[in-house]
């Protein structure tokens, strides 16, 4: 059984083919990296997966069921969480309130939601910031809040969109460590990332795209040695 499968998905914005027939499968429990140069369509694929944009063609299966055409909030209830590349903290709420709001996805009373939120904050090492307003967090904190919030909806599949961008080396190591711990909890992860240190060290498999088309897929070593990938990133010789 395929845990998660993307089949020949395409997205056209007017005359621009942002994603042109990309397919991949993700196994339960793995960290699946999605790489490509700027504008290659990585975030668009995420927006297609959680149905923020409607698909032009193709289909997406989560646990063998098609999720095509479902509402974004339903996708979350099914168990697919996501973070945003351009972080979207609920600014005039505290960090705790942000996470409580998302914890309500799984529980109904404030008490339960608060408990789940505090546990998740603790897991993500953000507990000491819980009473700060979300707007006051620096970028590293905001990225971490994005992850915490997504995690509080108890996803089985987590889509991480450039959660390491803009972090300093120490913060980067912490982010890598956090992503690994999330995987160890049994959450499957698809990660979009530019920073090669992150993507190469944590991914089990990597899917590379350019101009909305697949150029390579395989283990980090295979992809790093792939001619087309090197060309896409560094240009032709």
């Amino acid at each position: 059984m395929n845990f998660f499968e993307v089949k020949e998905i395409s997205k056209r914005f007017g005359g621009l083919m942002a994603v042109g027939g990309v397919s991949f499968q993700v196994e339960r429990g793995e960290i699946f990296g999605l790489i490509g140069p700027n504008g290659s369509g990585k975030t668009t694929i995420f927006n297609l997966i959680n149905q923020y944009f409607p698909l032009t063609a193709g289909d997406i299966f989560f646990k063998e069921k098609s999720i095509k055409g479902m509402k974004t909030y339903k996708i979350c209830h099914l168990g697919i969480g996501r973070t945003f590349q351009v972080v979207k903290p609920l600014k005039r709420m505290t960090v705790l309130e942000n996470v409580v709001a998302s914890a309500f996805c799984r529980v109904n009373t404030f008490k339960e939601a608060e408990k789940l939120a505090l546990e998740t904050l603790d897991f993500c090492n953000l507990l000491h910031e819980k009473d700060k307003s979300a707007a006051s967090l620096p970028i590293a904190g905001r990225k971490r809040l994005e992850i915490t919030r997504a995690l509080a909806t108890k996803p089985e599949l987590l889509l991480l969109d450039e959660t390491a961008a803009g972090l300093n080396p120490t913060e980067l190591d912490e982010a890598i460590e956090l992503i690994k711990r999330i995987r160890d909890r049994g959450v499957t992860i698809i990660i979009v990332e530019h920073i090669m240190k992150v993507i190469m060290t944590i991914s089990d498999r990597i899917h590379a795209i350019n101009y909305g088309l697949t150029i390579a897929e395989g283990t980090p070593e295979e992809v790093a040695g792939n001619k087309e990938v090197i060309e896409a990133y560094l240009g032709e010789e």
Partner: protein
Amino acid sequence: MKRKQVIPAIIAAFFILFPLVVKSDYYQHLVILALMWVVIGGSWNLLAGYTGQVSFGHAVFFGVGAYTAGICASKLGISAWWGMAFGGFTGALVGLLIGWICFRLRGPYFALATIAAGEIFRLIATNWESLTDGMVGILIIQTFRSKLPYYYLALTLAAASLWIFDLVMKSKLGFYFVSIREDQDAAESLGINATLYKNISLLISSFFTGLAGAFYMNYMAFIDPEVVFSLHYISIMAILVGIIGGVATIWGPAVGAFIMIGVQETFRSALFGLAPKWISESHVLVFGLLVIFVILFMANGVVGDWPKIKRLFVRSK
């Protein structure tokens, strides 16, 4: 008792005892109106302040509630008090209709659509003469000559609405409302059905506004479309009550209601007869100046910026 319980207890005692001490019909009348505005302001605040869906059309729900009570008496031949039972529901029903249409729009476009909705309902009430008697309005006979029953009814409504808004805001609903206000796209990705919860917010808001409208009919005994569907006497007033008291605070609209009724009456009566008569024409102008002042110096309203105001006085001592 803790300090947190003492202050509401004092406020409650004050309002319960007020009409027994102040016998003047005039002052009782003003407080009754202010209490009614506590309900409307709070309702507007739930939708606009907490859920972020700014409405310029709360007169619709107020007017529908008022006309429900009026039509009970004028057409159905039953007591206008039945309006208190039905007014909230007809208000909420119209709320659902407007939500169904207008929530396809976001932000300022939603606000514009609610202005249109308000005008549409005013025109319907004006022209559907067989039902509403048009510009003639609806006149009923007040049940009580004393103001006391109306006073305590208004007080109960105000207290009940504040209590329910507080409960809502501490629950899942409240967190969802604020999340939608802060970022609708993020809210959707956190599993929040934004359309559904915006409609729930509107439903609660329009229910209480309709109830206030039905109360108004029973208390004032006369309504016409220009009064209860008025853009500036009702819809804009609801916004002013919210902004001046403090958007997205439970007590803000309550404080705002008293400030607004106070300011309105002070100027309408030309500083209680002490100033020349032309002053009374200027109360709308004063509202404008008040809003400018609040936006410039206390953007969060009296309640929202209370710590700031308190500091000002402590320092000057």
